[in-house]
Symmetry: C2
Subunit: 327 residues, 2 copies
DNA sequence: TTTTATATGTCAATCGGTTGACATATATTT
DNA sequence: AAATATATGTCAACCGATTGACATATAAAA
């Protein structure tokens, strides 16, 4: 594999000059520049990023830590992060923490070892000491980490409001909220608060269930949905905290012979692909994942360059209507 | 950030000795080993992987190139690849080619630059000159690359057979196969051949449609499904080349008022999460994605170490029954 | 007691770039 | 003609490890 030295030799220049071309430093004539690029092509030269990063003391790699890869919300997020990173000439090192604290910490260590420019954390416990005093910036998406760590979230509170208002507007009077994860405090908890506020305002009855971490881990919510519907049989409207849960709620209703949207209306959250793949499709609160991902990467890069970035950025949500809340 | 030198100084040893501890070379006393590890913990030392890779002339990184991240098949694949890599102390650099040849080539270049140990290619055109003479091993999953490149696939032919037999056994007489991508030759094409063989054997009528690349790119198959059902109205059984297509077929049927599985049975391929999330659930041909991913990573690592690996490995598929072909 | 295994030190080259200081040589302005 | 901008060369240190050759010292085995 060709090195800078080879390129220098073949082009009759010195490594200094070739390096100048590569890094756009100092004075370089057009002719030299062309010649160098020609030789690079000819030798099929690719700069060794290891050596480069080592010397420059920084890499073009961003670590991304998620609790799930197959979860549609995270695969959508990862996809958009990769795209945004690509446009800024960054690469993604992908880590799946499976929500486990030890793995998160281990992955943070691996990010350190690899001298990533920044880490985007979409997983993460509230209280990890390890998340401070890092040598690179940390950006979170829809996660809380205490003070001083930049966070990106959507307007969860408003999402809860929109969801409840929509269900009530469609005639539901006995609402049920199925939460995401209990235990860990998360921005998503505010969905519930918005939901409650609207229910109270309109005097609608409501109940809530909070699946334990275990449900989130294997993405299998059927038991708790069944149980909730048995416990609150008068329910005529469900606000699920993700489209994934909503999809499973539709299935449970089908099993129980409950017509959706006839006698049960269901609204989800996220607006991921599955929301459009169920029958009926899932009405949902859309998170602008693309914009959030772009912001995360942009902030990661800026922060890595030593610039200040906002501590929190909140993105707007919108209601997307599909069949599951049809009239 | 602490370096080897710091660890050496703090522990009263030399870099040579500390490096020996780190790499398990030569003679090291238990006492020294313990002391070194203690100091490392104390200083929060993390070896610089850049320097290490540079010096060792190889990294612990595997490049993964996929055409889609949000597609459930690929997110499942990526998830399993990450897990398998993690277990072997490797990291994943993730690239999304979006099926575009230029991006594939660019990503291959980036993998070169980053001196990855190997590349696992789940995307990839048939005929790219660039895929030869690489400085690292290339492993493909469900893709063809001509001679000499290690490939992993599932038993697509048998998958087609199982699917057709199941539909026929369930009483379907007018079958329709909806293919994956046309244009690009792929292992998945053999699904169709298996399907055809069985149809001919049992004298069942069958038709086939091949979505163009465009459908695959945005994963939106509704138009072609509608069109196919209009063109072949007598169809009573669909073999879709992915669960994603099958999910959309269910929706199209719902829209057209066709009862699934009553008057139309549908079988998919892959066995990804969405197959279990639709109503009814999708009967499908399961690919052992976990095993395939593990094999891919194991082969990547072995090949990177200079060992020979099989040119092709074929994994068995199985029928998974759900509601979409119920009696 | 000599040999050998164990344990560590010393020193320097190497991996493939980056960068800065300084020198040199044209070409262009003033 | 002097000053300045442009273009390249020379040289060496540096990033943070790994590795090999060789020396040295102690402990255990022959």
């Amino acid at each position: 594999m060709a090195t800078l030295k080879d390129v220098a030799r073949e082009s009759g220049l010195t490594v200094g000059t070739v390096s100048r071309v590569l890094n756009n430093r100092g004075y370089i004539s057009e002719e030299t520049r062309r010649k160098v690029y020609a030789v690079m092509r000819e030798l099929n030269y690719q700069p060794n990023e290891m050596a480069r990063s080592l010397s420059k003391q920084k890499s073009n790699t961003i670590g991304v830590i998620v609790p799930h890869i197959v979860h549609p919300y995270f695969s959508k997020l990862i996809s958009n992060l990769e795209q945004a990173a690509y446009e800024l000439k960054y690469k993604i090192l992908l880590f799946n923490s499976k929500g486990k604290e030890e793995k998160e910490e281990e992955y943070i260590e691996m990010c350190k070892s690899n001298r990533v420019a920044a880490v985007i954390l979409c997983s993460g416990s509230f209280h990890t000491e390890q998340f401070r005093n890092l040598d690179f910036p940390l950006i979170t998406i829809e996660r809380f980490l205490d003070e001083g760590i930049a966070g990106i979230e959507c307007d969860n509170y408003r999402g809860g409001i929109l969801a409840a208002e929509h269900l009530i507007e469609r005639g539901c009077r006995h609402l049920l909220h199925i939460g995401g994860i209990s235990g860990l405090p998360m921005p998503a908890d505010k969905r519930k608060q918005g939901f409650e506020k609207v229910c109270q305002k309109y005097g609608a009855q409501y109940n809530e269930v909070e699946p334990s971490q275990a449900y989130y881990d294997d993405m299998h919510y059927y038991p708790i949905i069944c149980q909730a519907l048995d416990q609150y049989p008068e329910t005529d409207g469900i606000f699920a905290s993700s489209d994934l849960i909503a999809a499973q709620a539709i299935q449970v209703c089908a099993m129980k012979g409950i017509d959706v949207p006839g006698s049960m209306k269901i609204i989800g959250f996220d607006d991921v692909n599955v929301a459009a793949l169920t029958t009926p499709g899932i009405t949902t609160i859309r998170q602008p994942v693309k914009e959030m991902a772009e912001a995360a990467v942009a902030m990661a890069v800026k922060a890595a360059a030593g610039n200040a970035v906002p501590a929190t950025s909140m993105f707007p949500v919108t209601l997307v209507e599909r069949g599951s809340t049809g009239r």
